[in-house]
Amino acid sequence: MAEVEATTHTVHEAPTGFWRKYIFSLDHKVIGIQYWLLALFSVTVGMVLSIFIRINLVWPGTEIPILGQLFPVGAPDGVMTPEFYLSFLTMHGTIMVFFVLTTAPQGGFGNYILPIQIGADDMAFPVLNMLSFWVTFLALVVLMAAFFVTGGPPISGWTGYPPLSALGEIAGPGLGIGQDLWIISIAIFCIAALLGALNFITTTLDLRAKGMTLMKMPLTVWSWFVTAILGLLAFGVLLAAGALLLLDRNAGTSFFIPGGLVVSDQIIDHKGGSPLLWQHLFWFFGHPEVYIAILPGMGVTSHILSTFARKPVFGYRAMVYAMFAIGILGFMVWGHHMFASGMSPYTAIFFSLMTTAIAVPSAIKTFNWLGTLWGGNIRFTSAMLFSIGFVSLFVTGGVSGIFLNQPATDIALHDTYFVVAHFHIIMGVASIFGMFAGTYFWFPKMFGRYMSESLGKAHFWTTFVGVYAVFTPMHFLGLAGNPRRYAELTAFDFLKPLEPVHLFISIAAFLTISSQFLFFGNLIWGFLKGKKAGENPWEATTLEWEIPSPPPHDNFAGKLPVIHRGPYEFSVPGEDKDYTMQTEPEVSQDKS
């Protein structure tokens, strides 16, 4: 009973103390910003790691004094060892996938914006929300600790395939305590993600304001909702897999370790396990994870394209169905990561056909984005530029997937740089473009000030051209057969002619990474000096633009809105301005 009351008209008291206000806050907006800052820290670490990765690939043996001082074992005299390269590679992937691509789009923007966009004064479970952030934070701390333990971080990649990840130090450096920390960190992260997913689902279903029917929800809300469902179903499986792997390593079980293994002439005392079991469990999580990373980007892109094209989203319902189709199909395609794994070759055909099906809703999304621009009156803000970039990258990264979803062509491309190019463009860069777009778009709402548009545009140009320069050539490395996860390219004759391509990629990467200072600078500038923004700086239609910037503690000051319109009523004929808020009653309103 009390619950029902609470959802309709609680007036939240704003906390006054520093700790309750900024650290252990229950306010979804503060928690959203905390998530976002955690992702910003993580992406910086991940990016720095990628600099060392690219240096080592083109100039192996380079002395980097600071590396030697920080990691005397992994980089004696500042020269990276091959195993330390693999440690960095593992940490780069893990940090980026879990702590950037999974946190910022959902935990960051979703947390901040979703309750406001559905007309709620907070998430359904504020304490759970606070916990999910701090548990995520703990997971990050545990992962970072792996840098500073004996043996360093694990060298088994972000996919942590056993037996390599299961056998301990005998299989290589970093596979002792570093690997344990990695598994524990991922397990903790899963718990946080599950808490977050529950909260998002409940909030979306239960806390919508009067009139906010499902089909009046902004596509951003739909994308966060579908993402939460995927998270709820996927992270539990990864958590279980992690627990089993930890048991194999420390309790003598053999879930993933078969009998008769001999490592360095030593017989391993395990039997009966299956390395493929891990791959099935991991990718049952891992493929939906790709959509967990990119669906919010799709939502943000739809939202921003419509706003700045001054046009309703083309095919709103089709967009919603397409997201659900992608989400559901996403659970039936994990085997396409395993065509070369030794699983039954019949299943490869099944997974190939299921994966092809995902091309259809993806094509619907692309078509409808173009349809949204068609007939519009397009304003080119920084947020819009990044959303347009998202569409371009989504197409590019999408079509390369079609080569990989056919087992026959995948044989040649599997585990080469073609795959690296594919997933970086679609899962990494496109998603990050969604985050950039979201940042430029909602920054004025969050902090009451605009970011600089000139810096924003400079940032867009360098990044857009930069990421294509980095990742397009990687496709060709893949065609030439360059395997991924090679610490050095010197041992094989066929890799020698590819060195100039790698050099080009490294230089392009350094330039693109440098240009991110424009973004960091812009954040600081915007926060301190940015032009003051009013309630609705972009002349948009959804609920967050009807409240002050930044919003008050309980969002709507105790007066929850009533919704009359769809989320994207732009350029409605007969109205004098080209945007109609969701709360504006229909002109010819009879009781409906």
Partner: protein
Amino acid sequence: MQVKLLAFTIWAITTVTVVLFAGKYWWFPESASSHGESVDRQFMYTLWVTGVVFIIAQVALGYLLIRYRERPGRKAIYNHGNNKMELTWTLATTVLFYVMVIAGQGIWYSLYIEAAPQNALQIEITGQQFAWNIRYAGPDGEFGPISPELINDSAGNPLGLDLQNSAAQDDLVVPTMAIPINRPIELLLRSKDVTHAFSVRELRIKQDTVPGLVIPIQFTATRTGRFEISCAELCGLGHHRMRSFIEVLSEEDYSNWLVEQSEY
């Protein structure tokens, strides 16, 4: 101005990508196996289909940006979509992609599902950190028993061959491999320790070697030459140098090679 620059940039990126794919400056090595040609053909079909989709989408994106950029006094059209267009688009992509993908499954079938011909030459390949062990059955055509307890790398018995057994005594274990041209080959892939992947670019072969499993694949080499074998699944700190060679020889050269190796 800025809008046009954006559209031209998108088109320029598209053009450069198309030129790089059309020029084949960095490309697959020439195929050296019978299925390799079908794989390459399927790759080219896919390249055409996805290439057309890629070009149309990127060109349309650039065009729409210029055509519908904000101009004073204009208002966007009020339109919520078009179900007929959605349906057409959905059906078109479904048919286009499925025809192509289904057509390609035959190659996979012949490589992995069809039984190897009776006369196929069986060769066993065992990965270990960070080397390949190649085993031929020898004159008796039978692989001798092996056992993990007998493995002793330094004593030259990396597979743990049971040398008491007569079937094992004539087995040939070598670090690099040779095969005869135009004869069906069946590889039996194994691993001693962690997962590796046996990969030869020219043969269009890549298959994980999984500890605990024996994974068969079959192919026929169609071109003589000496190709590098690489590892394609992260296996530890020496992954990047886990290298061997496969030589595709004429029947005669292959027989001589076998004799040489056995004497050695």
